[in-house]
């Protein structure tokens, strides 16, 4: 456990995260972007909206890893870590959803867009439904956790449920929306990961942005973990 403790108390990665975010905001607003008539300047949302989802996936991955670690060692501290990463991941998911709603309102839902007829046409969007399902599965994780009073039982059941939730995450946010007709970009290939997909001028901002947002989220989570560990210490 001392290893895990170490990274939480080091500050270099927190500084790195802040520096990368400053770069994201400056280069993200001033940098050159390809001129796409459907998106115009809104394409810069790639550094914000898309990064929320990437950071969310990374945090859920850390959460499930700690869940598995708990099941291997039955050390309650891994359970605390797993839970906190999951909650911060959910917050990022909600932010991704909210920002997506704003972005969508001025691109897909634009009166000039022939694909847009009504709000109902957007509500049928598979990417929206898929991500809603994924987030609801993770809400259920929190509900499940909080409804079990016994600490060890709670930790064990929620660690197993976390694995199930993670197994459903990628099919519901990536695979299923890609099988259906969708307005969301990234229908074919790996969106954002494909080197031919994003312009080089955007890639030099996008990748640091993902790392920066992730580090910020990890920072917030480590504070929550420290609170959790403190509480745990007090009760013993």
């Amino acid at each position: 456990m001392s290893k895990t403790k170490n990274y939480m108390y080091k500050s270099w990665w927190k500084i790195l995260g802040v520096v990368l975010l400053v770069y994201t905001f400056v280069a993200g607003l001033l940098g050159k972007v390809p001129n796409l008539p459907a998106l115009e300047e809104t394409v810069r949302n790639l550094y914000f909206h898309v990064c929320m989802w990437f950071a969310m996936m990374i945090l859920f991955t850390i959460s499930v890893i700690n869940g598995i670690k708990y099941l291997r060692t039955f050390d309650i501290r891994y359970d605390i870590i797993s839970r906190q990463y999951a909650t911060t991941g959910i917050v990022l998911g909600l932010l991704g959803y909210a920002t997506g709603a704003i972005w969508m309102s001025y691109t897909w839902a634009d009166p000039n867009n022939p694909a847009f007829q009504s709000f109902g046409a957007l509500a049928r969007e598979p990417k929206l439904i898929g991500t809603a399902i994924a987030l609801l599965i993770y809400f259920a994780y929190l509900v499940l956790r909080d409804s079990i009073a016994d600490m060890d039982k709670r930790a064990r059941i929620s660690a197993v449920y976390n694995i199930f939730a993670y197994a459903m995450l990628f099919p519901s946010i990536w695979i299923v929306p890609r099988l259906l007709p969708s307005l969301h970009p990234g229908q074919e290939g790996n969106p954002a990961m494909n080197f031919k997909d994003i312009d080089a001028s955007m890639r030099i901002v996008f990748y640091p942005a993902v790392i920066g947002w992730t580090l910020l989220a990890v920072w917030i989570t480590t504070i929550k973990i420290r609170i959790g560990l403190l509480k745990e210490k007090k009760w013993q």
């Binding site: 300047e41 949302n45 929320m52 909600l94 001025y106 691109t107 009166p111 957007l122 917030i220 609170i227």
Partner: protein
Amino acid sequence: MKKFTRTFFFVIPLLLCIGQLAAQGVKNESAIGETMRSSGRIYVVIAVMLTILAGLVIYLVRLDRRMTKLEKE
């Protein structure tokens, strides 16, 4: 903990409402819609940035409050 989950269930319908309101604004072409569409729709990016900032700040305030409560105990 229970409060936490309850807040989330409060937030989802709120988000859906925001999406719907924004979409309605487009149809009527309100003043906000016009501003958002000016300068190559850059204000959409600003709105997105502010949403993320607001979300993180609210989250940190909640965390701060919980920490204060813990310290008082």
